[in-house]
Symmetry: D2
Subunit: 130 residues, 4 copies
């Protein structure tokens, strides 16, 4: 491929990374339906919480072992609930103009301090219980 064409292709891809392209698609879906009017953060947080409950239902009454070996039907439902949760995350971030990836990156950095390896290795204790 000639350099010039290759560059245009790469630039197009860069300009819209997979994550931001998806973000755009999620917001476009909403705009086309005029749903932003319902999407105040209180309702979005409710929606996310409801979806989290539906996700959890796939594991109810199951042992740890069973939860690792879901039926195809349950696994399909898990994939859908995870997607729904992601979608509501994106809408909430849009509301407050939060850059989700940057935010998570800074949270992980924060957790590195909160849970130092030497104290937390192999322990499920909460940092408040050290």
């Amino acid at each position: 491929m000639p350099i010039e064409k290759q560059r245009r292709k790469i630039t197009a891809k860069l300009g819209s990374s997979e994550f931001s392209a998806l973000q755009r698609k999620i917001l476009d879906f909403r705009n086309a339906r005029d749903w932003a009017q319902f999407h105040d953060p209180k309702n979005l947080a409710e929606a996310l919480s409801i979806e989290a409950g539906e996700l959890l239902e796939n594991f109810l009454w199951k042992t740890t072992e069973q939860s690792r070996n879901l039926t195809a039907e349950k696994l399909k439902n898990v994939r859908e609930e995870l997607s729904d949760i992601f979608i509501f995350l994106i809408y909430l971030c849009e509301e407050y103009k939060i850059d989700l990836l940057k935010e998570v990156e800074s949270k992980v950095a924060h957790n590195e301090v909160k849970y130092p390896v030497e104290k937390s290795k192999g322990s499920s204790k909460k940092y408040t219980e050290y």
Copy 2:
């Protein structure tokens, strides 16, 4: 910048997109602490659901209007809860080898069919209520 150097820079960035780099960082954080042993999907779904409740608490007793105008302290908490939820999403996807972005993309495509613009525009009804 000469084309060649520019291309190398672009390629480097492409090779590790921001999203997958973050995913890697989240998994490395866990490995360093040997926490995968606690992270069976049942517990991860519990954790995500608990965080969703903590997110929701920021909006409790608030009107729609108030929920759009959080104090700096509440907003900081919202950012942290959103990050925690994202982190548990990543762990759950790792468990089942789910490509989250692809999954969400296919869910959005599915929703386009479930909620046709002409039926859903300006309506908060669930698709089962059409």
Copy 3:
């Protein structure tokens, strides 16, 4: 009816109030199905949380006003979710031998101190925010 007989009847009724009779019925339902084996507190708390999400779904995207005026169908669902939540409360209390009514009574007494009338009247603030 002679006073003596009437008193015995009243006493019998007192000894098994409506609440404890219902509690008994809920536990008998479980025993007949041999379900206590699944009802460890971790799973019961999951179940209760899932039901709470289903309850909340009846109010999603609704205004405060709309939430006070549910359709007959939604209201029927609310009644069922409230009942399910009550049932899981009873199972959890059974597990730890908690006397629910006494416990709530002492919690209300505790709240009277935590939320003194003069500080909390007409305010939705949490006690930590005074």
Copy 4:
């Protein structure tokens, strides 16, 4: 005490069983603080769901066995969360004038049909999975 006086006392107690006395106390607590204005059902369902998440947190990362053997501190928290959930149940019932005990009784009767002993004994399957 003369029989007649004793009977009046017993009757008074019957007229206000432990359950309804507690219900009354919970509503009086609210009235004294003028909180009914915040207690629309949407917010109450949010509150209940948040408390259910806090209850669940006591069992996070724990095995079934560990969830049956909580520390005194965790158990104290469980008792409080159970009480909070009960209190929000009462407020929601007040809103819709639901007689909670009657409602639960009819739900149990309904479940007897939904989960016949011969099909459900020793099985954790949902009735939709039979």
